[in-house]
């Protein structure tokens, strides 16, 4: 174990692993309640239409139907993510704004009856012209989707740090490049689900697949007109979220209302198609960047313009548009930066947050542009980056303070591990030609198999490698609503019987492993094995935690649990110190024992009392030394429940400019990756052969889990780089709302990933820890794109880099 820790930095198992490998883990759809009703939603088949008539009478009369809800019999309370942009209402009023927009909900005795009830609801639509093209959405003749968004502009950002124009005048080399992407879907394996129930006191409990129990509690309370204390949110196990579950949904609100109206527990579960219709995943981006460097390749300025297609609501998009700009401030020393971003609304499912929130495609363009600059300067791309990387202690031009930053270490680690050879200026035609014995022909010979005497189709395969870097926040510095609320509170309570430790918090365990992080930190502080710690999480009755987003939990809840565990430790040691007649400062907890001046102690009195209380039991006391269990029991006997509390509130961070809140964080993780690809020049097919990834996560709480997050990041990045794309028809309908047609990486698509954990000691992190859950995706797309270029000599400027787009680029630029 690193750094003199007992359990921290190890490779212990996840605390929830056993229940997950045995099938005992319960997700929301696994729950049932006596008298359960099934909820279902009626959703718009039109992207944009006026609701002329809505008749639910036949559905209401259907036997087995307990409630039918529409805009007419439910509260008209605007909600959303950012309070300044509350533009959603439960159920469409007079207008539907995307295919999937919710019109009504029913609760019935079973799903068949619920489906039949939906089919009996008569809706008359007057179709309106949909706005589906973000590029023209602002033109004056386009229909306006929301009253509040003139010209369909939902958000507009202008930021200027330093003096871009002056820097440009002095630049040796200036490049302008573009990259656009397609809307994506988080495609977690567990579709959203919610079960709501009102208890005998009128208190509402909602079990939900949410990743933000706190914001869900607030939104349910606000929309239903309840006191927050009367809304209890519980997360069962959650099957992934990645951002798309980070806002309260109409489905959750409808389920609560159905339970309230019927007085019966009601459960609603999304189909896979509904996961797509609900959206709230990655926006579609168009980025243009103009970047200048001096003769040595030092970055002088970045002038960045972005357009975001946000779909039909603001959702998380205000944060998204700011992140798209601010997350370019590091990890390179950038003297000046201008950012102009526009987020438009269109008649598509609303977009929100997804792993690497807002910054992924901006990073992809910037890192591919750096490669182009390196090439023009005749520099190796790693060398160019090394000339520009920031170091710990520096502050970006947009006021982000890099309190720790192992960027150089990450770059050097992937360079050395991968066997990177400094790159000579590339020839015009593809290099890295593979002439393989199995019939592959070198690139540059005629394509299509002409001259092949046997007429057997053969293909040309070229190889390449690419590098990229990235960084990410370790938690948003500010909550979504203005408040001085702590971001995390944790209670650690020792079992009255002694020995057991319970961590109580509302952290959102969505698969990323935060329960294990909390248990590990508590165990480290209390000197007990991780297995002695039980974590209860995801429950708004147990504490306040803002949720699983912005890679905040390890740092923020980590601080809170550390403080709570220390609070408990100090209480126990104070009692033991009195009993032993020694100063508390000489005592410590380690190895499930009490240590005095570093050595185990023997206390006849405590031992005798403990054994007497348990006469006849096997207590598992291994030796004569005073155990944690005895000490904890004594502490309870002496002073009652031993409860420790901790909270975390970030210090004041960042600048005072508009939007400064987005991107500020107590700490920043960073990463570098090298991707190696094979490209078939005849088919345009890209195959990943290997990814070498390094990430600075501060001090690793659990190395296996850090690697797991890195692997997951790379995997999602590979999908986004190569094939993930929500495809829309001319009517605004999603053409591929299934996991067959919206392809996410399979085991055959993700290459072997070599994960290198680079540890730094983050002064603002608990035990020096910071993020890993999102930063690890930042370099993946550009590393793959740079590798494709290295292999083929062509640049794809629209993501994903599908075979069609690669072939088109090859034809256009004559790469082969």
């Amino acid at each position: 174990m690193s750094g003199g820790f007992d359990v921290l930095g190890g490779r212990g198992p996840r605390v929830d692993a056993v229940e997950k490998v045995t099938g005992r883990a319960q997700y929301t759809d696994d729950l049932t309640r006596p008298g359960l009703l099934h909820g279902a939603l009626l959703q718009s088949p039109y992207a944009h239409a006026r609701l002329v008539r809505l008749d639910t009478s036949r559905a209401e009369r259907l036997p087995g139907v307990a409630a039918v809800l529409t805009a007419r019999n439910t509260p008209r309370v605007p909600y959303g993510v950012s309070p300044a942009r509350y533009d959603e209402q439960l159920f469409a009023g007079d207008r539907v704004r995307f295919i999937g927009d919710e019109i009504a909900a029913v609760a019935a005795v079973d799903l068949d009856t619920a489906a039949e009830a939906l089919s009996l609801i008569r809706v008359e639509y007057e179709p309106l012209e949909p706005v589906l093209d973000a590029l023209t959405a602002r033109e004056p003749d386009r229909p306006q989707i929301h009253e509040a968004y003139a010209r369909n502009v939902c958000a507009q950002v202008e930021q200027h740090f330093g003096d871009v124009d002056a820097a440009r005048a002095g630049a040796y080399l200036v490049r302008q490049d573009r990259l656009s992407s397609k809307m994506q879907n988080a495609a977690f394996l567990e579709p959203q689900a919610a079960l709501a129930e009102v208890d005998g006191r009128g208190r509402l409990t909602i079990w939900s697949s949410t990743q933000v129990p706190h914001y869900l509690q607030r939104t349910v309370a606000m929309v239903l007109g309840l006191a927050e204390r009367d809304v209890h949110v519980v997360m069962p196990r959650v099957g992934g979220g990645f951002g798309a579950k980070a806002s309260a949904s109409a489905m959750e609100l409808a389920t609560c209302l159905l339970a309230q109206r019927t007085g019966r527990p009601t459960k609603t579960v999304f189909s896979r198609e509904q996961v797509f219709l609900h959206g709230r995943s990655r926006h579609q981006f168009w980025h243009t960047m103009t970047t200048g460097v001096d003769r040595e390749g030092r970055l002088l300025f970045l002038d960045h313009e972005a357009l975001l297609d946000g779909g039909a609501a603001a959702s998380f998009g205000i944060a998204t548009i700011y992140y798209a700009g601010s997350l370019l401030g590091a990890p390179y020393r950038l003297r000046s930066m201008r950012y102009r971003g526009v987020r438009v609304v269109t008649n598509k499912p609303p977009c929100g947050a997804q792993r690497g929130h807002g910054g992924v495609h901006a990073r992809a363009l910037f890192e591919t542009q750096l490669d182009r600059i390196a090439e023009e300067l005749g520099l190796d791309p790693i060398e160019l980056r090394l000339r520009n990387v920031m170091a710990a202690g520096e502050t970006t031009c947009n006021d982000l303070a890099m309190s720790s930053l192992g960027m150089r270490e990450c770059l050097e680690a992937v360079r050395d591990r991968s066997g990177w050879q400094p790159r000579a200026p590339r020839p015009a035609a593809p290099r890295a030609v593979a002439a393989e014995p199995d019939g592959l022909r070198p690139a540059g010979s005629s394509a299509g198999g002409n001259g092949n005497p046997l007429g057997v189709p053969i293909s040309a395969v070229v190889r390449g490698r690419g590098v990229a870097c990235g960084f990410f926040v370790s938690g948003a510095g500010y909550p979504i609503y203005r408040s001085r609320t702590p971001h995390a509170s944790v209670v650690v309570r020792l079992d009255e019987t002694g020995g057991g430790v319970e961590v109580q918090s509302a952290v959102a365990e969505i698969g990323q492993g935060c329960e294990t992080v909390l248990a590990t930190i508590a165990a480290e502080v209390l000197g007990v094995p991780v297995a002695a710690v039980r974590v209860r999480s995801g429950d708004t009755d147990l504490g306040l935690d803002l949720g699983a987003y912005s890679s905040r939990t390890t740092l923020m809840a980590g601080h809170a649990v550390k403080a709570a565990a220390e609070h408990v430790r100090d209480q126990v040691l104070a009692v033991v110190a009195t009993a032993l007649g020694v100063p508390p400062a000489t005592l410590a907890l380690r190895g499930a024992l009490v240590l005095a001046a570093g050595a185990p102690v023997v206390s006849e009195a405590i031992r005798t009392e403990y054994v007497k209380e348990h006469r006849g039991w096997n207590l598992g006391l291994a030796g004569p030394h005073l155990t944690f269990a005895e000490a904890a029991r004594l502490a309870f006997l002496e002073r009652g429940p031993v409860v420790g509390t901790g909270l975390y509130r970030p210090p004041a961070l960042g600048g005072s400019f508009k939007g400064a809140a987005v991107g500020t964080s107590p700490a920043y993780g960073c990463s570098a990756q090298i991707a190696e690809v094979r490209v078939d020049l005849d088919t345009g097919q890209v195959t990943l052969e290997r990814v070498v990834a390094a990430h600075d996560c501060g001090r690793a709480i659990n190395l296996t889990q850090v690697e797991g997050q890195m692997h997951g990041c790379v995997s999602m990045g590979v999908g986004e780089a190569l094939f993930e794309e929500v495809v829309f028809g001319a009517d605004g309908r999603i053409q591929n709302p299934s996991l067959a047609d919206y392809r996410i990486p399979t085991a055959l698509d993700v290459p072997p990933i070599e994960a290198i954990v680079v540890e730094s000691d983050e002064p603002n992190g608990p035990f020096g820890a910071k993020e890993v859950g999102e930063g690890g995706i930042m370099p993946t797309i550009p590393a793959v794109l740079n590798a494709i270029y290295d292999a083929t000599g062509v640049r794809v400027e629209e993501l994903p880099a599908s075979p069609e787009r690669i072939l088109a680029a090859l034809r256009r630029d004559g790469g082969a």
Partner: protein
């Protein structure tokens, strides 16, 4: 009109009356309360519902309950039936192959079928075996590691 179906689930003979269009997945989850088998898509695309039908992996959402008549079904609940973890389950834990866990039951069962066929699969064979099981969290690396670890431990004679 419901029909009777007889099948063996995790070693126990069952007789149930089911609608002809009821899937094996619904039978397991709703009629038998075996919720360890997950529904990720209901369309045969994700593998979260994978169970073993007479030892072969199938997506339970695509199998009608009536089609399973006379078959032996193994679900994740039957893998550690006597309360001790199966070596594969232990390997999934030790290798860190579990994150959100939603894909895990299906992965464990598909891996079990693989190891029954190939005691010592290559990494490539492992990847092929789990290619129909989507995992959005792990990037598959540690799942591959887990399956190879279980195979190695078995070869070393540590387990039956």
């Amino acid at each position: 009109m419901k029909r009777l179906v007889n099948l063996t689930v995790n070693g126990t003979a069952r007789e149930l009356a089911v609608e002809p269009r009821r899937t094996l997945l619904a039978l397991l989850r709703e009629d038998l309360g075996l919720t360890g088998t997950k529904q990720g898509c209901a369309e045969g695309d994700c593998g979260a519902c994978a169970v073993l039908l007479d030892g072969e992996p199938v997506n339970a959402c695509l199998v009608l309950a009536l089609e399973a008549a006379g078959c032996e079904v193994l679900t994740i609940e039957g893998v550690a039936a006597d309360g001790t973890l199966d070596p594969l389950q232990q390997a999934f834990i030790d290798a860190g192959a579990v994150q959100c866990g939603f894909c895990t039951p299906g992965m464990v069962l598909v891996a079990r079928a693989l190891l029954a066929r190939h005691a010592a699969p290559t990494p490539r064979e492992v990847r092929h075996a789990i290619a129909g099981n989507l995992c959005r969290c792990t990037g598959y690396q540690k799942i591959e590691d887990a399956i190879l670890l279980a195979a190695r431990r078995r070869a070393a004679g540590g387990t039956p």
